[in-house]
Amino acid sequence: MKIVALASVLLCGGILIFGTAGFPDFGDPLSPPASHVSPHYIEEAVAETSVPNIVTAVLADYRGFDTLFETAVVFSAAMACFFLLRVFREDERSPSEKLYRHLPTGIILRIDPGGKAPQSNEFEPIDPTWVPHDMIVKTTTRLIIPFIQLFGLYVIAHGHHSPGGGFQGGVILGSSLILYALSQNLRMAIGRMGETVSAVFCAAGVFIYAGAGALCLLMGANFLDYAALSPLFGVDAIQARSLGILVVEIGVGLAVMSAMVWIYYNLASVGRHQEGL
Amino acid sequence: MDLIVSLKPLFAVLISILVVPMIIWSGNRPNLREAWTFAAAGIKFLIVASMVPAVLGGATLEWTMVQVLPGAAIAFRVDAFGLLFALVSSFLWIVTSAYSIGYMRGLDEHGQTRYYCFFALSLSATVGVAFSANLLTLYLFYEMLSFATYPLVTHHQDMESRSSGRKYILYIVGSSIGLALPAMVYVYGVSGTLDFATQGIMPSSVPPAVLMALVLMFLFGFAKAGVMPFHSWLPAAMVAPTPVSALLHAVAVVKVGAFCIFRVLTGVMGADLLTGIGLGTVVCYIAAFTIIVSSLIALSQDGLKRRLAFSTIGQLSYIVLGAALLTPQGLTGGMLHIAMHAFGKITLFFCAGAIFVATGVKNISDMTGIGKRMPITMTAFFIGSLSVIGLPPCGGFISKWFLALGTLEARQYVMLVVILTSSLLNAAYFLPIVYRAFFCTAEESKFDNRMGEAPIWCLIPLKLTAFISILLFLFPQPFLDLAKLAVVQILGSK
């Protein structure tokens, strides 16, 4: 198997290397990619969309349709993880022993299989794989998470002028919640942002994007032609494009954030949402 | 020649499909169910018969259903030849329906509703083949017939019928898909059309070797005609209930195969083209081989139905031979043989079935003295044998007469010898049965002297067909006129 794999890989690589000989030189400003479509973006982006970050302009406007489906991909991935992993009936293979923590004292009870679980509100179930969290990690993360989230918001909002945008910002926001789950525990994170919220936000994020496009359709222009939104925003067509991009970036951010968190919830707890990393 | 656009052919085909839901619906009331079958059979025959005057008047009835390929539609056309075949098969459906009632009820078979449904479907397909205006439609109904008859062949649903059904499908469908279909596509590719025409549709540019290959592909591809070596499905299919063997494996299915070959040789290839390069002779020899060899095999068969099956294989090749002679007399003989052999052979099968219903006997060696037990049946059997052998006063004589004339006309003297030899062989395998049935001593007889005929529903049809066999000798006019007209239509008015 390995030899076959190696042979086919080398063959493949050989063919690709052979093909490389016909490439334009690396970094050649006269190569076709540099001279055909992209100059239009570089030269006209600011005039047409009023967004200095050309990547953002192309991403969310010229090729906004791609990005819409890219968001849909993230959404479907999150939905797929939920679909595949989520356990709805807690019956099979329950862990052999259960751990409960007495909240006021922090004492941990170990209940053997078949034993009766404590009924009082003062106990909370904890993971069998649980290890006491480090105080320093807990405190530090608690301190930095707000700043991470702030940064995430900044990245979304400032995507017009600097690297960043909905995706990066959304991922950062999502990571902050994942970090919270990692440093505390999964149940607490789910308490902050539940499954329903993640699912609906995720769909809503994509919906904002697609809805903005459909709104343009209703305004009589083509799908995703933000210029048509200028009467709604009360600005001229160029500015409307810029604002439209902002709207969809927010949608993307929302969708990506919830998608990341949601995937993590399901993956880390194998769909039980009880215990996890 | 007049063209009449008419829905009649379509109705003639559809009527027995339309009756299927009715049969299913009244599945629990046998009398009503059989009434539907009779009604459909009667109407079908009337529709077909109503076209006779027009066709005899020189007209052709046409109906194009839908254009499926450029230059090829699903279309019906009634000419004299097709009408002849449809007339025979739709009439025999009425008779067989009556016989089926006697047979199926006599044996208390299971799944009778299914049986009548597929029987009706098979008849649709048969008439569809008869009325098809082009090769595509022909192929369509040919395949429909193959699949509709499968449940009939395997009606008993036991291990034997399972393996027979397997053989049946493999031979019939395998050859039609493997040989006839590509040949047909090729014809379409070179000629751009599939309509049957008076002197064929093949352009003269096709080299003889390719023509040869095409003819052979069609000849073996339409394996229902049982040309050797694609014949062994027919004896295997004899596991079917006898009415099925009677109508389908003596008349409808096998004649459809012969009919297809007839059509291909005359309507697609064209008589002049084939004669010009001597291809007819090749087909003649293949048919002759089948005729002789199958008769020899029939001699050695003990099962009555199996012997009849091998006899059928031989008789089918008479029709192929008639077509391959490509002379007016030969063609007439081939066409007439479709009708004459049908009535003769169906009588024989009816008799075999009646014997089985009345006594449960299947093998010839067990039939010693049966003539005393079932005199009517065995008399009919005798008449049927005479017709198939080709002796007067039966219809079979007339068709063989024309065939013999055809061989002379085509100067194929070897074929004349083949026909005569084969007739002798036919006599050799039929007459001993009759002899054994009637002329035996009381000790040899395996039956007591009591009369014990099959149910009346079985008897009437076989008397009727035997009678018609004789009648056809005396009054062959309707079929003869149709056949003569058909020859004119096929060869062009020369």
């Binding site: 076959v4 794999a5 690589g13 690396f26 006209e44 192309v58 890219e70 991909v73 797929a80 399901n266 | -």
Partner: protein, 136 residues
């Protein structure tokens, strides 16, 4: 000789992408561990992203963000000054697609593990065979 070096150096990013791609495919085909296969799949995807990003490169050009910001009415940006932004856009999409695929793949790997108690392809095949044998 110099030409040869220039040829090699002029396209070295492309060589890099090919090597990474080979690593990725090799891992997918030859490795038996499902997680390793998934890592290989991801490396394969990043290799293609590297290829695209390499096509965007432009000598002596800056990052594709117009430095003057708003209100630059007089002179517009010159294409040679900025790196080609289009491949970057495409690759943003590709990266996100790859993480989405990764999520689903890992999910399925976890499911497989819960079913067979193993991530090694050969062990899973053994246990499938054992179960099929048990059925009969």
């Amino acid at each position: 000789m110099n030409e040869w070096i220039a040829f090699l150096a002029g396209k070295f990013n492309y060589w890099g992408f090919i090597v990474l791609m080979m690593i990725g495919i090799y891992a997918i085909i030859a490795k038996k561990n499902l997680i390793k296969k998934i890592i290989g799949m991801n490396i394969f995807q990043t290799a293609i992203i590297l290829f695209y990003v390499s096509t965007a490169a432009k000598r002596d050009a800056g990052i594709p963000i117009i430095t003057h910001g708003h209100g630059m009415s007089g002179h517009s940006a010159r294409a040679v000054d900025y790196i080609n932004p289009l491949p970057h856009v495409l690759m943003l999409t590709a990266i996100v697609v790859s993480v989405a695929t990764l999520g689903v793949a890992l999910t399925l790997a976890v499911k497989v593990y819960r079913q067979y108690g193993s991530l090694e392809e050969d062990e899973i095949a053994d246990s499938i065979r054992a179960r099929a044998g048990g059925d009969q």
